[in-house]
């Protein structure tokens, strides 16, 4: 057991540092560009140097590096420290690019992957619909071939980033006669066309992270399909083989806890410092146990990756564990706010970030911790996954029937 990165990676870290010292922030005229443009300029160089788009082939605009989760971690750490742009976050690099690389035609990869890994092209995901949450088999958005174009009608929901996205990858029912999963295709759609109506979904905290997307006779070329007709369900399940940031999540949870500690040190309860209250201190320390466990689980998962092993049970627990911890953090913070717990939340767009600084921010987190619990699979779905895939328990009857 060794938590240091070892001399090889110390050397690598120095290389990354000198690259950054030379290339970020941009200088001279380049520094006058918009931030997005600066990011693209910088990423181009970082890809050339082998630091970004590491799993993407050079042919499609990546740097095609051997998989090395520890190098990836060093890069994240140093880029983070220098506040330099890393790989573009979000659904484009996380889901669309890997899917295209594994399943797409050559021309599709050439057309979309380079711009995606650079951050020039933004994507949104068209999976969920109002009538189908965890039950994708029931989706209703339909596409019909009209000459050499698909004509798409339907409604998507929970679509993050739809307002700014250039394209959507969209599960669409194209084979109405086929049953359930078998009738779905994976279509790519230009978001900047008439017939697409994006309506932000306002959250209870006032922010708007998600959208509804209404599609009315939306058109896309017949060959903007990934995989064959009716294979969309399979395509959407393409395994993601990127270098997962397993300890980033743990670091965020730790940052939240530190923020809670700061709050507890400042807050008063019944006229005394809150930290002197034994009930508060015990609750804090209990949360600390979970936070430390979560942090160490991050190390474990990184080690599994380094060794090329499956993460197993612990890999299935990340989301629910951090959700639970963040809920406990936000509840305790709420109790420390005193009368400020009646205030309107500071409705940021973000679902969850570092620890808030003011009362309204903590009220926001009190609500946002519920949103996070729901986004991308409710706690109950997470428990199904742990129970079924982790503990080998039988599948739910109704889900089974619906297959």
């Amino acid at each position: 057991m060794d938590l240091s990165y070892g001399p090889e990676y110390d050397t690598f870290r120095e290389e990354v540092k000198s690259f950054l010292a030379e290339h970020w922030p941009l200088q001279g005229e380049e520094a006058q560009q918009s931030f997005d443009d600066q990011a693209i300029t910088f990423r181009r160089r970082a890809i050339e140097a082998g630091y970004l788009a590491r799993s993407t082939p050079r042919a499609y605009g990546g740097s095609e590096q051997e998989s090395d989760p520890l190098k990836a971690q060093v890069i994240r750490e140093e880029f983070g420290r220098a506040r330099a742009p890393g790989d573009p976050g979000g659904i484009g690099t996380m889901m669309l690019a890997p899917t295209l690389l594994e399943r797409g035609e050559t021309w599709q990869k050439e057309k979309w992957v380079p711009g995606t890994v650079l951050g020039e092209i933004a994507w949104c995901q068209g999976y969920s619909e109002p009538g189908s949450g965890s039950d994708l088999a029931s989706l209703k958005t339909r596409g019909e071939l009209d000459g050499d174009e698909w004509v798409i009608n339907g409604q998507k929901i929970w679509t993050s980033g739809a307002v700014t996205a250039d394209f959507m990858f969209c599960l669409t029912r194209t084979e109405p006669e086929a049953s359930k999963h078998a009738g779905i295709s994976y279509l790519l759609i230009d978001m900047k066309q008439p017939g697409i109506d994006v309506r932000p979904l306002k959250q209870m905290n006032g922010g708007s992270h998600f959208n509804e997307v209404f599609m009315n006779d939306v058109r896309t070329p017949s060959d903007w399909i990934v995989g064959k007709r009716g294979e969309g369900w399979l395509v959407s399940r393409t395994t993601l083989k990127h270098e997962r940031n397993s300890i980033g999540n743990a670091a965020m949870t730790e940052a939240s806890f530190k923020g809670l500690l700061r709050l507890a040190k400042q807050a008063e309860l019944d006229g005394r410092p809150a930290l002197e209250n034994e009930g508060i201190r015990q609750r804090l320390a209990t949360i600390e146990g979970y936070v430390q466990a979560h942090k160490c689980s991050g190390y474990r998962q990184l080690t599994h990756q380094l060794r090329g092993e499956e993460a197993g049970l612990i890999g299935l627990m990340n989301k629910l564990h951090s959700t639970n911890i963040n809920q406990e953090i936000s509840k305790l913070a709420f109790d420390l706010l005193g009368d400020d717990a009646m205030l309107d939340p500071e409705g940021g767009g973000a679902l969850m970030g570092a620890a808030p600084r003011g009362s309204e921010g903590w009220v926001n987190l009190y609500m946002a911790s519920l949103g996070v619990a729901i986004a991308g699979g409710t706690a109950n779905i997470q428990r199904n996954v742990i129970g079924e895939r982790g503990l080998g328990l039988p599948r739910d009857y109704y889900a089974q029937q619906s297959k």
Binding site: Q203, F210, G338, A341, L343, V363, T378, N380, S402
Partner: protein, 355 residues
Amino acid sequence: MDFGLSEEQALLQDTVGQFLANENDPNQLRARFDSEERHDAPFWNGMIELGLGGLMVPEEFGGAGLELLDAALVAETLGRGAAPGPFLGHTLAALAIASGGSDAQKKAWLPKLATGDALGTVALGEDGGRWLPDQWELKANGSVSGLKHYVPNASVADLIVVGSAGGGLALVERASAGVETEAYAGADRTRHLDSVRFDGAACEALPGEGAASRLCDAGLVLLAADAFGGASRCVEMSVDYAHNREQFGVTIGHFQALKHQLANMALEVEPARGLLWYAAHVFDKAPEESERMAAVAKAHLTDRFMAVARDAVEAHGGIGYTWECDVQIWFKRAMFDRSFLGSPSMHRDRAARHW
């Protein structure tokens, strides 16, 4: 032995419930919640016409002469319907005068409050969560200066009952010189709060002994009642959703995990109904138990409401987290009920003094 509601009480709840069904249906409630207006006078007048302005005002002064239990049943119904408006502060102001005012003060104010000609409120909270009579530091001696926090609907009130150092109460007319209100951006958009800064404003003490603690106990019970109504509604909304929303070809109420979560929510709420009744009952009939039971009821019920409102968001899935889903209205009402007049932990400590 009869620990249940009388026919009159059931009728009272029905009447108020029917009024809300007509005048505060989901669309009307939504419009009020989203509105930038902080007071809906026609709606409040409707409540006044029902007699809700003077529930506990003695009949000789034009009120209904009812007890706290009755007022709590109304508060429960208002909480269930998330009724916007100044009922809480107004009712407490009237109670303060009825129980602590001089004859002249009663004559001057109670009829107006009962008929809605005057709107009353109470200014209790001070810096650092000092909500209760023995914590107040604001001095009121002919005139009053200083700051009160979280005063319900102060900007539209005519009369403010102000808590003062030594556990006293004093009347201040909002239109007097030296009274300024400033709006809070509170989460609960059904009951707006203001801070009130007094700068040498004229005030008149209520002479009656013990009125301040009666006022606070009654406030705790009314908050608990609102919380019970709201919490019950959160359970109902979640159960309704489970009956209607489908996944995998069946309504989600078929899924045992959710069914058990809903059962647990109901189990958090339904047994607390009797606790609420009891706290109101002893306020009316056995005042020696009132301080303790009001504290227990406020702590227990407002905590349950908050917890069940969180559960209701989860039970609604993604939609539960949106602004358009009504659950948030009760969620934010729970935030008000829980903090107003002091946190559950503060009241648990008060209850513990009786052990």
